[in-house]
Symmetry: C2
Subunit: 887 residues, 2 copies
């Protein structure tokens, strides 16, 4: 027979911290504390499998559980010397939920269970405090009616208010024992009215009701939603903890408090917490009374008068300190603790690893490693890579005032202030004059890239976390708030409206890309402190990781930033971003609109020296490191003119008419550009474009090599390949171009030719394709789009609903869909390596900076990930953790 009840407390412990799966987090830690001899009120845990059984049985308990629970109660009675339901000195218990993962506020709790019309009198006598006894009883009735009986709690609160009004007082504390007793009677009436039965007086009936209610709360709507949002499986179930009550509200020698063993905000090694004398736990949280500091020093720093626990209860505090140190050493992590002092005796009610800021996480990890508490590897595992994001961008000064006028999505972290501009050209112009600007658009398009570059930050009214604005901004490391739906933008009037507020061009706003807030005026920011701890952790991470980390970058600025952040090469240099440059776009358009190859070649000849310069700069910065350059990828119409002015410019440059141009533009229109005439299809149909780009790459590489700089290693990457033949044809073109440049320049450099794997067919055909490729780079953005049949630009209309309904556990554009897209990557990896064992494998989609996806890349054995510059440290840490977890 499976065991379902596990005892703990006062020398007994049927479980420990390793048993979270069965006991839940709270139960496991209570058992653990009991096991290491800490003062834990005795109790028992009903394991999570019973929760599932309970639902399987149609919300009934198997008979065998009764006997086990009876043994549990007997254990508590033995240890406390009290009897459950004893009229003279009754045992009271709490009944609390406790799932494997913390679900704060989602699940139900019943306190003071075991009181009835008779035992309340025994409690009054035994405690010598009738007010306490009746207050406890009415709290119990109120809680039980709400949680177990499902009655409207408003009716009870109203009765309490009436009681206070009748007595002409405002605070609960102003009510005396008789008042509570009277209220209890009123509560009993209310229960009979609403429930149509009297309040249960049998303490066992009370207990089973509470246990059932806690299990029941697992399936409440709010709990289900919480699990969905936090990725907690529905079949985990919750445990139930039944534990002897201890009371912090039994007078001036009683107290209750919460504490962290270190400062959760800064990571400083100092006890950090609050307590209240003569109070119950919920009073600390409720905020009715102002809690007092735990330590004298904290009180002094804050300039507070209320005496600290260290001063008011020095002996208990000393005991508590001992417990803090013991728990930290035992758990080898900073602990978040709940305790109660009942008439001078300390009781531990909870311990768990404490939540902390990124800054604190970093400091605690480094400190603990320094203290010898954990190893360097463990320190690396202790910091959430995603949280590093907070450290890598300027943040708003927390002390500054702010007037939030709108909220959007936190699309690209960091804070920025600047003057509002509504188009990319103005952004560039004003920024050229030294002004800080925020580019505000309904949504952005590739045409806006130069303006996004010029701006301090970007705000859009439409678009999700993976909209053009969001993706490009993250890539550039520009703060971005996207999809601020309440903002309405009028380009003509150069005005944005939000709420009652009208903001014109040149007005100052501030955006916080980490929270999604939009604020009026300039809010001061603080610069990121990439202090010693950060560097130390990164160096430890680098020692542990196998995966190399590259960056997605194409501007000299981004390349420099990425190197500072530790990038070991470029994994994706998008040449088309260079095409948008204001000085070049006219030549690009002329090339596209040319009627024949000769026309295209004429335009390309103008672009060649410009592209060569781009690559030369990048090669110089990335000296000696591999630089993966993707040949032109997007459909040509992305580069085409929109405004009349632009049409006129191109027409005059190309010696043609605006009408003719417009017709050509219409011809180039595509229904599904994502699946259209782009990627290597351009290289197959207009080989001269790729030829120019290859020439620019090799000429630049030779130039850098000749100038005495470290010779770069260009990796020429062909996008959107679906067949071996495509790569064969284009590789021949690239090799031919390389040969002719090397002959002309009388110098050769090493280079590789490889391909993106970003179509399902390419993944399946990886064996054949590998014969032509020196490397594969998984373009997981496009691979996700095609495998799932979801356009990233259009997904917002349904993907949110999909994630809410649990159809996809996470946004597949944020974390790789391991089942679907992941299988294709695995297939390609296997088939590619079977043909070419030394095939270099990497990933260059947005997923390269996502820790969960990085772990996937480690598991399937890729060689590198490539992330946007600001996510390089995140990827480094994630790669280290993935390697360590793999062992």
């Amino acid at each position: 027979m499976t065991r379902h009840v596990y005892r703990f407390g006062e020398g007994v412990s049927d479980g420990g911290k390793g048993d979270k799966e069965i006991l839940g987090g709270k139960g496991a830690n209570l058992a653990e504390m009991a096991a290491i001899g800490l003062p834990v009120p005795p109790g028992f845990t009903i394991g999570t499998p019973m929760c599932l059984l309970y639902y399987e049985e149609g919300e009934h308990f198997p008979d065998t559980l009764r006997a086990e629970v009876a043994q549990g109660i007997a254990h508590i009675e033995l240890k406390t010397g009290k009897k459950f339901g004893d009229v003279a000195d009754p045992l009271l218990v709490s009944v609390r939920s406790g799932a494997r993962a913390s679900m704060p506020g989602m699940m139900d709790t019943v306190l003071n269970l075991g009181l009835n019309d008779e035992t309340v009198r025994g409690l009054a006598e035994a405690s010598g405090d009738p007010r306490f006894a009746w207050d406890s009883y009415r709290r119990f009735i109120q809680m039980y009616s709400d949680v177990v009986l499902g009655l409207d709690h408003g009716a009870f609160e109203e009765a309490l208010e009436i009681a206070k009004e009748n007595k002409g007082v405002h605070l609960d504390t102003d009510l005396a024992a008789e008042d509570w007793q009277a209220l209890t009677a009123r509560y009993m009436e209310l229960v009979e009215e609403l429930w149509e039965k009297p309040f249960p007086q049998d303490v066992h009936e009370q207990l089973w009701g509470a246990i059932g209610a806690v299990f029941g709360s697992w399936q409440s709507e709010r709990a289900k939603i919480y699990r969905r949002l936090n990725g907690i499986p529905h079949d985990w179930g919750t445990a139930v903890n039944v534990q002897a009550m201890v009371f912090g509200n039994m007078g001036e020698t009683s107290a209750t408090g919460v504490a962290f063993t270190r400062d959760p905000s800064t990571g400083e090694r100092a006890y950090y917490g609050e307590y209240l004398i003569n109070a119950q736990g919920e009073d600390v949280v409720a905020g009715i009374r102002t809690p007092q500091y735990l330590t004298k020093s904290a009180r002094e720093v804050a300039g507070a008068k209320a005496v600290s626990m260290e001063e008011s209860m020095p002996e208990v505090f000393a005991e508590l300190s001992r417990v803090f140190d013991l728990l930290e050493r035992h758990y080898r992590d900073m602990q978040d603790i709940e305790f109660t002092v009942e008439r001078g005796k300390l009781w531990m009610l909870q311990t768990r690893s404490g939540k902390r800021t990124a800054k604190a996480a970093l400091r605690i990890a480094i400190d603990m490693a320094g203290e010898g508490l954990i190893s360097e590897q463990e320190a690396v595992l202790r910091v959430d890579p995603a949280a590093l994001d907070q450290l890598l961008h300027p943040t708003l000064d927390p002390a500054a005032e702010r007037q939030v006028i709108a909220r959007g999505l936190p699309a690209s972290p960091g804070a920025a202030s600047g003057r509002v501009v509504f188009d990319a050209d103005t952004a560039e112009k004003r920024s050229g004059l030294g002004e800080k600007v925020i580019l505000v658009r309904i949504e952005t398009s590739p045409e806006d890239i130069h303006g996004m570059h010029a701006a301090q930050g970007i705000l859009t009214a439409r678009g999700g976390m993976t909209s053009h604005a969001a993706v490009v901004a993250r890539g550039m490391g520009r703060p971005c708030v996207s999809g601020a739906g309440s903002v309405s933008i009028d380009y003509k009037a150069k005005q944005m409206r939000v709420g009652g507020c009208e903001i014109g061009e040149g007005d100052m706003i501030t955006i916080d890309g980490s929270t999604g807030e939009v604020m009026l005026g300039e809010v001061p920011t603080v610069q990121p402190e990439l202090v010693g701890d950060f560097g130390t952790l990164m160096s430890w991470a680098d020692r542990s990781r196998r995966l190399r980390v590259r960056t997605n970058a194409e501007t000299p600025n981004d390349c420099r930033t990425a190197r500072e952040f530790g990038a070991e090469g470029i994994g994706l240099c998008r040449t088309e971003h260079m095409f948008f440059d204001a000085e070049r776009i006219t030549s690009v358009r002329q090339m596209i609109l040319a009627e024949n190859e000769a026309g295209r070649r004429a335009a390309l000849a103008k672009l060649l020296p410009e592209q060569r310069d781009d690559f030369e700069q990048i090669f110089a910065i990335m000296a000696g490191l591999p630089v993966t350059i993707r040949l032109l990828d997007p459909p040509l119409h992305e580069f085409l003119p929109h405004s009349e002015e632009e049409f006129a410019d191109v027409a005059s440059a190309a010696g043609t008419t605006v009408d003719l141009l417009k017709r050509r533009v219409a011809e180039l229109h595509e229904f599904n550009p994502m699946l259209g005439h782009r990627g290597c299809r351009l290289g197959i149909t207009y080989p001269e474009i790729y030829e120019m780009q290859a020439r620019a790459i090799f000429e630049a590489a030779v130039k850098v090599a000749k100038s005495g700089g470290e010779t770069p290693i260009p990796e020429v990457m062909v996008p959107l390949v679906a067949t071996k033949a495509e790569l064969q044809i284009i590789r021949a073109l690239i090799d031919r171009t390389a040969r002719s440049v090397f002959e002309e320049q009388e110098l050769s450099v090493d280079y590789l030719v490889g391909t993106m794997i970003e179509l399902p067919r390419a993944a399946l055909m990886a064996g054949g394709i590998a014969e032509e490729a020196a490397f594969f780079s998984f373009g997981t953005n496009d691979l996700t789009q095609t495998t799932l049949g979801v356009s990233r630009d259009d997904a917002s209309r349904f993907l949110t609903v999909y994630v809410e309904k649990g159809i996809y556990a996470r946004d597949p554009f944020v974390s790789i869909d391991e089942e679907g897209v992941g299988e294709l990557i695995s297939i390609a990896t296997e088939r590619g390596r079977a043909v070419k064992p030394d095939l270099k494998l990497g990933i260059c989609g947005e997923h390269g900076g996502d820790p969960v996806s990085v772990a996937f890349c480690e598991r399937i054995g890729l060689d590198y990930v490539s992330a946007s510059p600001y996510r390089v440290p995140i990827a480094r840490l994630a790669a280290a953790q993935a390697a360590l977890r793999r062992g």
Copy 2:
């Protein structure tokens, strides 16, 4: 050592008809004819592997070949009793190419080889005909100079013209021996001038030159292009046939001819052919002299005077008849034959299976089975399913005159005449008045469906074989010419221009969707004759096939046509086509533009009875057969208004303003609608739409069942599923709706719920999805789009180039890409059946009507294919052939 030379003729035969791979088609059949004792001029074949070796060796022959060729020549010398290069009575040979597949006119030939300044005199003496000898010599020099030496043949033709002018004659036949001799001398000068060397006099040098030239012609540009277009692999190579010359031009007892053993146009069992007395083979083809009929009866039917071979050479004709019958019995197929009579002796030069029209193919297959020559199964295998298309549509009367004004793609077969209209509404209006119209559009969109239905045929200026117009027209069985690039259309002026021609609304044109021709005026057509042979063959096919054949249809008309053509159910009923109906579109638009569920439900309530009627009609027609109904699939914006008038209609119906509507339309815009908010994503986000459709289906099914008709078997199909969870959610909705309809109506009907597999992820997740699905239908159109990353609507810009360059062997939207898409289908089939062995599997993309794809479906074991109504017979035949070929 590998053998390279294979002899044939006069009792010797080193090969046979099974050796086409090595000997090529011509060589294998010459060897075969020799083997069965037919009179074949002796010769030898150099096998195809030598062709590849020749290229591998840098266009050189291995030494070993010399000895083998010498043996071959010795064989000819022995059999003919002549010597190669013999001055007295020289052996002359022909050198001809012969690949595995016929490549008419693509490859080179040299005749009369072995003549030089000395042997020509021997030939004159031995033949007793100096004119013949010198004519043969000058023909040889001319041919050799062109084919082997690569000299400009214009110069030789000019010299011949000058010779005739000088003599004042017009015809070659007017030149005498001396004239030919003089011309030969001039030719010799020409060779020295152009080649800067004298014409080779060594007959062995001549021979090797010719062999090299034949091999060389395999890599000529025109041969390469031909192979690309006809899917002939480049690495097959060609064989070379060296054979003793026989001469049909040695006087009145000599002749040459070509013949078919049955009529290749009608299939009638009668010898069919032409011959010329005193002529060489090329004279028959060249058309300088009018060939005469072979048989007396053919001559009489044609009312021709020139005597038939049956009459002029009765003995040889009797011999030829015997050979025809022998060959037909031997090859068990209608033969296409070349022969020569040299001084009363019959020589066979070629035999091969004859090309024939679809009609003839059908008749010959049925007749031969009747004659016991082939089995029923073989008869089924003899008819090309694709060719059936010719029989199933009206065709232009071949006797009628026609004025072709433009050419486009043969997008949907059949011919149609009608008055030009430029928009769907006018098409509907005029057709409603009993007029026949042709809908002419730049390109079509779903908005045009009602006009396409109303029209006799469709002509578009843009779009490929798989454009909207082409696909929909094929589905409807309407003739369509798409992508007629030379047509320019002005909607405003209601005019199309092409060449110098201006055609306005109401002008009559004719289109031929089988050839792509557009003609001015009405060209008479002939109706298809689905005569006895067709029915017989279909019944034989049905006995042999395993795959079931369903149809893609949603109108009562199409359903009826498909049943007539033998459809065994509906594999794809696209409910959205019903939404475009003029009477409903406003309700549909109101539903889409509603701001909330209540608004949508109000509009859906109006659509419910209409949809129910649709299904009722279909169920009645398809009595007792399975009907697969796909729930709404396309993105909602496809239904939205375009014109101001339409906007006004919807605004008034929905009680809103045009401005508001337009804003909503803009909101619904998608960048990549193919990957957007469509398919089951609509069902997840707006469940009420699918609920209405499910209700309409079940209510209709119950109604038909109650009315005493055969109870239909609805198969409700959920589109665009990528995850098990989607199908789970929607299946629950469908089941719930079914239950409530069955309860309301107090009658249940059987039904299935299944899904399209049209996304790569769905194929990979097929195991899980199968748990929720009773059937899978592979939507290979979309699966091809996503797997290859190619938008069908946009592919024309590069896919043509791709097929030309051999990147894809065939258009993957016409024949399934077996490597890529095919692997996903196989994966899904395996994984689905592993979970659910009785999972029903079908295909409903356009590929369901493509014979190559049907064969693939047979191989991987699908249960059915579904094709557009007019392709159902093609699919039935293709399925039978695939099953028979599998054995």
